[in-house]
Every structure is written in structure tokens, then in C-alpha cells.
């Protein structure tokens, strides 16, 4: 079944915006997604009708606010097929979720002489927290390399994970769009005794996420790339692991009891949620999940395969040898994120020229500088799509790129 993009576009007020009399062509959803009306309504409703602090009130309003927060947790839990709602922890964003894992599980489990394994595809959020901890604990960070097509090179995988304690990787690359073989990596790593974390920030918004089927131990993602608001992210972890982990931030909510002598921690998931949580954002995230679920994650994925195919073919047929496209060429092996460089025009200049026609794409290192070094480029242009994009957006991009070529390549 195909999705009706023209109808979907109507649900996104920002996509109706015109600047200088021209419509907006938004192709930067890997950076942040636009929001449907239902998400904004849920957040506004919360503040208009339900605002009270949660888990503390003894009156109806506070109970309703608590039900909104915990209802959103239930939605997340079923959206990713968690075993229980206790396994779903709200954080500020995916970066904070990864810092939570490194600061609690990492601090408790990684010591001098240990090793962890990352990949060359990683976003800084799945690199720097580990480097910070490694500087303190003196463990080794090993890297799975990528091959020329942007896939992980697994030829020495067994050797890399040998004796390591953690495997942490992006389920989908935010630069190349590559889907990593989550189940294959996870099964082999767990057989060797490693704990496995998947950064699903790019994955969960675009394809069905089933943490039990994936088999991983931790999954992290952010709300704002998934039609939800900025300011909320998710850590999912297996209950037995979360149980053993020390708390992250200290304060209210995360305690059962506090005395002058010390404290005891609250039950899961609140043990990891110190302070007043982001209730309106949770309401928004819940509405985003409802919106995506109504359309269907498989339908969204199929739409993006089709549009990615169209984009790749258009770029190659229009610009041939003058364009370099990074990452897998087969759209069934990648998400709707396409990085490229253009002979004779720098990514920053490409974005600038496209901006004249309200075409929004990202230029830069995409918070993946180690990957840029591997690709031997300083920056790339990146087009990324979502359920509200269609071929007319890609056609606008192509005609914008012709203007770039006319200006820079005489």
C-alpha cells in the first residue's frame, strides 16, 4: 500500500510555509523532522488543560498529568516492542541517553585494560561519551572499519570483539544511510559475552523497531527526528541490566527514601529520571507515535525506498561523473539519507544556492568527523527525506543543483 503524501503534507503546517513567494522544500529530516498538527495540539492541550507536576500530586489534575506522561511511556514501549514499560527511560535526547549508558553501565563495567568496539559510522554522540570515560578508566576503543560501499567491513569482526565488553553501533548511519546488520552483529557479540547498544536515532523514525527481535541490550533514540518535539529522548534497556546499573543524575523522583546518611533509589524506570520530567514533550512524542503508527512503519519504509531510488537515479542521470554519492547504492540496504559531493562546488556553497529556492539540505560533517576522515572529505551535502516528501521535492532539488552547476562550473 502506498502512502498519500499530498494528504500527509497537509498535516504539517510548516510545510505550507512560503518564503519569498516560494514553497518550502524540506530535505533535512535526518537533522530534525517537521511536526504534524496532532503533536502540537497534544503539547498545547497539556499546558492548557492538564499542567501539574507529576507523581506528586494528590489531586485529579496531577493524576491526569501523570497519566499523560506514563501513557506516552506505554506508547513508546509498544512502538519498539519492549518487554515492559519499566524498560523505557525518558531522557533529554539521544545524546543524553548514550551518556546515561556510558556513565552508569560503562562506569560500573569498564576498567583499565578492557575494550569496547565502535564503528567508523558513528555520530559524535556515540563516540565522545566513550572517549570521556576511556580517558578516566583507561580502556581501549576499537573500530569496525567500513568498506568502499559504506557497509561495515566484518572480515575481522571476531578478532575485534574478542575480549571486549561492549559493542555500540548506529543501526542506521546518519551520513551514509547504511543499515547495519543489527541481528547478525548482536548474536555474534553476545555469544562472545559482549553487551550490545544500538543508536537508533536514524533507524526508529524510518523503519519498524522491535527490540526483542533485534536482540540488543540497549537502544537509544530521540523524539525530534520522529515527528516529536525537541527535548525528549529514549533509552530502552533490558530490565535485568537497568536493575543492576547505578543511577545517573541525582535528585527528586529517582529516590525511594533519603536520610542524612544516604538514599535508596526508586524503581525502574524512575530511578533514571531525576527531577521534573518533560511532560508536554512526552505528550507530543506519544502523539507522534500515534501518527506514525496510523500510517504504518512498513508503509513509510516502502515509501522511502521508492523515493531514495528515485533520488539516486535522478542524481546519477543528471550529474553523472560530476557527483560523488557515498554509501550503499541499493536502496533496500539504506535509509533515505544521501550524502554527496559535487565537483567544483563546496557543500556550504551548494546549500547557499539551494536556499535561494527554499530548499533545505544539510552541509558539513554531520557530527561524524571520524567518518569524514575515512571518506577523505571535509564535508558533504546531505539530503534526507521522510514520509512528507515526494518526487516533486526531489525534482526541485535537481533543478536547484543545476543552478549550482551553472554558477560554479563554467
Amino acid at each position: 500500500m502506498t502512502i498519500e503524501v499530498a494528504k500527509i503534507k497537509q498535516d504539517f503546517p510548516l510545510l505550507q510555509r512560503h518564503i519569498k513567494g516560494k514553497r518550502l522544500i524540506y530535505l533535512d529530516s535526518a537533522n530534525t523532522s517537521q511536526k504534524p498538527v496532532s503533536v502540537m495540539d497534544a503539547m498545547e492541550d497539556y499546558y492548557r488543560q492538564f499542567n501539574a507536576n507529576v507523581h506528586r500530586g494528590s489531586y485529579q489534575l496531577a493524576n491526569e498529568a501523570t497519566a499523560i506522561l506514563e501513557g506516552a511511556r506505554d506508547k513508546v514501549s509498544s512502538f519498539i516492542n519492549a518487554n515492559s514499560r519499566q524498560e523505557v527511560v525518558f531522557t533529554k535526547n539521544a545524546t543524553e541517553a548514550m551518556n546515561l549508558v556510558s556513565n552508569t553501565w560503562g562506569r560500573a563495567n569498564l576498567n583499565n585494560g578492557d575494550a569496547i568496539v565502535l564503528t567508523e559510522l558513528e555520530h559524535h554522540a556515540n563516540i565522545v561519551p566513550w572517549q570521556m570515560l576511556a580517558a578516566e578508566k583507561n580502556f581501549e576503543i576499537r573500530w569496525i572499519k567500513i568498506d568502499d560501499n559504506g557497509h561495515l567491513d566484518l572480515s575481522d569482526f571476531d578478532q575485534l570483539i574478542h575480549g571486549a565488553k561492549l559493542l555500540s553501533f548506529a543501526a542506521m548511519s546518519n551520513v551514509l544511510g547504511t543499515f547495519t546488520p543489527v541481528k547478525e552483529l548482536t548474536v555474534r557479540a553476545q555469544e562472545m559475552g559482549l553487551t550490545v547498544h544500538a543508536d537508533a536515532s536514524q533507524y526508529t523514525p524510518h523503519t519498524k523497531t522491535d527490540v526483542q527481535d533485534m536482540g540488543i541490550d540497549f537502544l537509544t533514540f530521540t523524539g525530534h527526528k520522529l515527528l516529536g518535539p525537541m527535548g525528549i529522548g529514549v533509552l530502552w534497556g533490558k530490565e535485568n541490566l537497568l536493575d543492576l546499573m547505578p543511577p545517573f543524575l541525582g535528585g527528586g523522583e529517582m529516590i525511594l527514601n533519603v536520610t542524612k546518611e544516604g538514599f535508596s533509589t526508586n524503581e525502574l524506570p524512575w530511578k533514571f529520571e531525576a527531577g521534573t520530567p518533560m511532560v508536554a514533550e512526552a505528550a507530543g512524542l506519544g502523539a507522534a507515535i500515534d501518527y506514525l503508527s496510523d500510517i504504518g512503519m512498513e508503509e513509510i519504509r516502502n515509501h522511502e525506498i521508492d523515493l531514495t531510488d528515485y533520488t539516486l537515479q535522478s542524481l546519477i542521470s543528471e550529474f553523472g561523473e560530476t557527483i560523488s554519492i557515498f554509501g550503499p547504492k541499493d536502496s533496500s540496504e539504506r535509509g533515505g539519507v544521501i550524502s554527496f559531493t559535487f565537483d567544483g562546488a563546496h557543500p556550504h556553497d551548494i546549500s547557499q544556492v539551494l536556499d535561494e529556492d527554499n530548499i533545505c539540505i544539510r552541509a558539513g560533517h554531520h557530527c561524524a568527523k571520524p567518518l569524514m576522515q575515512v571518506l577523505n572529505v571535509g564535508a558533504t551535502s546531505r539530503v534526507s527525506m521522510y514520509l512528507y516528501n515526494d518526487r516533486s521535492d526531489i525534482d526541485a532539488l535537481i533543478s536547484g543543483l543545476h543552478k549550482v552547476r551553472d554558477l560554479f562550473i563554467p
Partner: protein
């Protein structure tokens, strides 16, 4: 396309396509790196100083048309100048880049402290309308400033 023409003047595109004084200088020439963390652009400025005079200057690294053209034009105007002349030029260039900010904050336009002729560099004036690109235009200049500071032992 009129505002784009304002930004991408022919002289800028010419310096971008055929950058002047590109390459490296061997030690004892001074080497200094500058980064634009926003977009990952990188410039390396090599300065060969003899008797307080910039005998030679070269540019390495990578970047967009604005940063590359600005760096290229910078080498042309700076080469052969004394440190104090170079500092005046740097000051005048940054003043040109800052015009946007003074206008925004409603301050009086800063009086020109120097009568430096920036020549081709005037073409970069269009950049001030694009605040994000000011960082591109000033990357090589800030790196040169750092380089001079390091040579003089300030930092």
C-alpha cells in the same frame, strides 16, 4: 538570483577556482591551523617572517568558495608586508565584516580607524548579509592573527 550574484562575485569565484599562494612552506616557516567547527572547514596558514616582514605566505586546507577566496586574496595583500602593516589590513578587513553587526545593534557605524585600501577584498562585502558565512570569510584571517600572535610569543 540578484542576492546570490552579490555574494558570488566573479572575482570571488576566480580566486576560488584558481587560489593564489596555495601550498606549504617548510620550517622554519610558521604553521598555524584554523577550524570552523560548524562545517568542518580547515585552513592552514604558513608564514615565513624575515626581519619583521612577511616574506612568504601559503595556504593549505579545504573549504567553501568564500573561505578559500578570502584566504587567497588575503595572501595577495599580505605578502611582503611588515607585521604592523599586516595587522592594519587584518583590522580593516574585520571591520568590513563587522559592519552588519554594528548596524544590527543600532550602534553608530564604527569610524574607519585606517585608510587601508582592501582592493579586491571589497568584493567580500556581500558576505555580511549572510551572518553564517562571515565565519567562512574570516577563518583564514583569524588563523593569520593567531599565527602572528604565536610568532610574537603572545600565546
Amino acid at each position: 538570483m540578484s542576492s546570490l550574484d552579490d555574494l558570488y562575485k566573479e572575482i570571488i569565484l576566480d580566486h576560488y577556482r584558481s587560489p593564489r599562494n596555495q601550498g606549504e612552506l617548510d620550517p622554519p616557516a610558521h604553521r598555524c591551523e584554523g577550524f570552523n567547527p560548524l562545517c568542518g572547514d580547515e585552513v592552514i596558514v604558513f608564514v615565513s617572517l624575515i626581519d619583521q616582514k612577511i616574506e612568504d605566505i601559503r595556504i593549505g586546507g579545504q573549504g567553501c568558495s568564500i573561505s578559500q577566496a578570502s584566504a587567497s586574496m588575503m595572501t595577495e595583500i599580505i605578502k611582503g608586508k611588515s607585521i604592523s602593516e599586516a595587522e592594519k589590513i587584518i583590522h580593516a578587513f574585520k571591520e568590513m565584516m563587522d559592519i552588519y553587526e554594528s548596524e544590527l545593534s543600532g550602534e553608530e557605524t564604527a569610524e574607519s580607524s585606517s585608510n587601508v585600501d582592501l582592493g579586491d577584498l571589497e568584493a567580500l562585502q556581500g558576505v555580511v548579509k549572510y551572518p553564517v558565512r562571515i565565519k567562512c570569510a574570516t577563518l583564514a584571517w583569524n588563523t593569520l592573527t593567531q599565527s602572528i600572535d604565536e610568532i610574537q610569543g603572545v600565546k
